[in-house]
């Protein structure tokens, strides 16, 4: 069972074969579920903590301060300490809350994020679900989360929560269009919805560069709409602190609050990972058509590193948005989507279709 840092296909295949040979088919499948599930849980928990730390450090850098410095070296253990604190906190429920929905909401939000993460290709062979409608699946499951947000706002029996949830509902449903349409533009270009095909297709150059103006426009639209989808600033109306205290999760505490918190960061990761995969080539190293020497040099860096470099690049841009821009108003957010992004997107799709038809691309 050789370990190859450049291609995990052999490793994952060997694990699969080993399991199938050693156990009954039912047991093998169950064990695979457990292994993959645990791996994702671990990844999400650790990466979530890392992202919270990164956000605090990035925010601190923008605000001319140091951020967490006391717990661990350069405050590295701060988020872990915070998480332990959240785990130990009392769970408070408003007296007249709808018990069932109130308890259900955080799980819906976090499950939606988990479902979406399954199709992300981290590196060759490191992807648990790779099927022909991968991108379609991702957009559909990631929009399930809004149900959780709406339920949280509704069941908390708090007006601030309700206003936050309504805002978030209107916002996510609208921006879902832009996310899907900008991805659709790239699907037309790639000719596939399967993640592995999309990544393979960028072997000679990332779609952001090969697809001319339409893919650049689609990338920008996707970044804007993606930021709105994750409820992050400047689109953080749903939890606008200065207006609605904490929006839809005002009444949540302890681990349930942590679920919302974690889900926000997983969604941030998913949006960045999709942007990195569809526009920036995913784990594919930076290649330029005929520069063989350059391409080989780039291949030395392992795909996993490439993937996370790109993801963190996009994450940094989204954090940059949050810490510089003021928040939009609810009507402005809808205006931006329906009057600007949507028409731009539709024209962009036409342009892309024309480019694909005339083969006017690199």
């Amino acid at each position: 069972m050789g370990f190859n840092f450049y291609d995990f296909t052999a490793l994952t295949h060997n694990i699969h074969v080993g399991l199938v040979e050693g156990f009954s088919p039912f047991m093998a499948t169950t064990l695979e579920w457990v292994i993959v599930g645990t791996a994702y849980l671990l990844f999400v928990a650790l990466f979530g903590l890392l992202l919270v730390y990164a956000e605090r450090k990035v925010c601190a850098a923008f605000q001319q301060r140091l951020g967490p410095m006391r717990v661990g070296y350069w405050g590295l253990l701060q988020t872990i300490a915070d998480f332990i604190k959240l785990l130990m906190k009392e769970l408070i429920m408003p007296r007249k809350a709808d018990r069932f929905l109130y308890n259900l909401a955080p799980f819906i939000v976090i499950i939606a994020s988990f479902l979406a993460i399954a199709v992300i290709p981290f590196a060759p062979g490191l992807q648990s679900l790779d099927f022909d409608i991968g991108l379609f699946y991702l957009t559909s499951v990631s929009s399930v989360g809004v149900i959780g947000i709406l339920l949280a706002g509704w069941s908390s029996n708090n007006k601030y929560s309700l206003i936050g949830a309504m805002r978030s509902g209107a916002q996510i449903l609208s921006y879902e269009l832009s996310v899907s349409l900008s991805l659709l533009t790239m699907i037309i270009f790639a000719g596939s919805m399967q993640f592995s095909t999309i990544v393979e297709g960028q072997r000679d150059g990332w779609y952001l560069f090969t697809g001319h103006i339409p893919s650049l426009v689609a990338f920008i639209v996707f970044l804007i709409a993606g930021t709105a989808e994750t409820n992050r600033g400047p689109f953080d109306l749903a939890e606008a602190e200065s207006e609605l205290t904490a929006g839809f999760h005002t009444e949540y505490s302890g681990i349930k609050f942590a679920f919302f918190f974690l889900a926000e960061y997983i969604n941030l990761f998913i949006i960045s990972a999709v942007a990195a995969t569809v526009f920036l080539g995913g784990w594919m190293p930076l290649h330029f058509g005929h520069l063989e020497a350059f391409n080989h040099a780039m291949d030395v860096i392992p795909p996993l590193v490439w993937f996370f470099l790109k993801v963190f690049g996009v994450i940094f841009i989204i954090m940059w948005f949050k810490w510089t821009f003021p928040r939009l108003r609810v009507d402005q957010i809808l205006t931006l989507e329906w009057k600007y992004l949507l028409p731009i997107n539709l024209i962009n799709i036409l342009l892309m279709a024309l480019i694909v038809l005339t083969k006017f691309h690199f």
Binding site: Q63, E243, P326, R327, V330, Q332
Partner: protein, 377 residues
């Protein structure tokens, strides 16, 4: 299930769209313990009913039991961001009643300190304004620069916020030897930082969209509600007491009264931003010319005002601050009334925010620059 039934039965009651939201006394955007009963229809604000008194400390009543120099220390606690101007108002009122002429040095220093306090107050307002609109980074930019002014205060007055620097007849003590140098350093430093403020917030598209045309307060309304200070001047209401009733060293300096006729949130924002430039220029004109002399005139150990009524108003960072003293000739006043700018400004909020969204309400409230102890006293 029973709840659902209840809803079904009362469905016509449910059909009404208006609802009340209790904003405050603990709410992030009220910056203190202001409580507002907001009537909403969806996101639209229909009516705002401010409830005040959560931090009422009875300062006016307390003043009746203490002597005049002691009153000064209480005025710090009202509008803590304009502490120096509040102190000065009482000091000027007592000086005028006793017809004491303070040395020029005192006048100069008072004016410089006034403007420094105004700058510090406007800086804090700018931080919080950005934060209320969701641009959290502004907070740290503003505080970074405000820190320098507070350091100057600390060096000279020994305190950073509630400075207690004035006395009837002069100042508590002379300025620190470093004072002039540090103030000049600050002016050069802040001149380079003010454009940064504009880059970060003023020029931002989202910010302009959020503020332009929002919270219209017409000139007649501003006068009717007594909205003074930068908020009033943004409605075209020329009310700068530094120009109209100059006190201390204000007659000696050249500066512009910033007036804007656009009446909206953006106008109120820009008036304050421009006032910061004016304050810098006022300080610049005075800082090198502080005359030599005493920092206070010798007053009697027990100050007694002649019988009668005395009124003095000054321009604080928030508007017109008035001190009304009724004296019966004893060492403590018979009655003291403070006219605080925040109180009048707050009640124009309903007029301005009606029909706008919740987010606009927060923005409008932010441009009124409310300090709650100033309202409650």
């Amino acid at each position: 299930m029973s709840e659902i039934k209840e809803v079904m039965i009362n469905s016509d009651r449910l059909a009404t769209d208006e609802y009340l939201v209790n904003m405050g006394p603990q709410h992030p955007s009220t910056h203190g313990v202001l409580r507002m009963l907001v009537k909403l229809e969806g996101e639209k604000v229909l009516n705002i009913q401010p409830h005040i008194g959560y931090i009422h400390s009875g300062i006016e009543k307390m003043c009746e039991a203490i002597s005049y120099p002691q009153i000064i220390h209480l005025t710090d606690r009202m509008d803590y961001l304009s502490a120096h101007m509040n102190n000065e108002a009482v000091a000027l009122c007592v000086e005028n009643a006793l017809q004491v002429e303070v040395p020029d040095r005192v006048k100069y220093i008072r004016t410089i300190m006034d403007e420094l306090a105004r700058l510090a107050s406007h800086q804090l307002w700018w931080c919080v304004m950005g934060m209320d609109l969701g641009a959290l980074t502004t907070f740290f930019y503003g505080l970074r620069d405000r820190e320098m002014i507070l350091d100057i205060f600390e060096e000279t007055c020994g305190a950073r916020l509630t400075v207690n620097y004035n006395l009837p007849g002069g100042l508590m003590f002379d300025i620190h030897p470093n004072f002039q140098k540090r103030v000049k350093d600050f002016i050069t430093y802040f001149r380079t930082k003010l454009p940064e403020y504009d880059q970060l917030l003023s020029g931002n598209v989202i910010f302009r969209e959020r503020t332009e045309g929002i919270g219209h307060l017409s000139l007649s309304d501003a006068i009717a509600y007594g909205v003074t200070g930068p908020s009033g001047r943004a409605s075209g209401f020329s009310n700068d007491l530094r120009k109209h009733q100059p006190y201390s060293a204000y007659p000696l300096v050249k500066f512009n009264e910033i007036i804007d006729h656009r009446c909206d949130t953006l106008a109120r924002y820009e008036v304050r931003m421009k006032e910061m430039h004016e304050s810098l220029s006022i300080i610049e004109q005075l800082i090198d010319n502080i005359p030599e002399g005493d920092y206070a005139v010798k007053m009697k150990s027990v100050i007694k005002l002649p019988e009668g009524e005395f009124y003095q108003r000054v321009e604080t960072a928030r508007g017109e601050f008035g001190v009304y003293i009724v004296s019966d000739g004893k060492k403590n006043p018979y009655r003291v009334k403070f006219r605080s700018p925040g109180f009048s400004n707050l009640f124009a909020l309903n007029k301005m925010a009606k029909g706008h969204k919740i987010a606009d309400l927060v923005a409008i409230m932010s441009t009124l620059d409310l300090v709650i102890p100033d309202i409650d006293r």
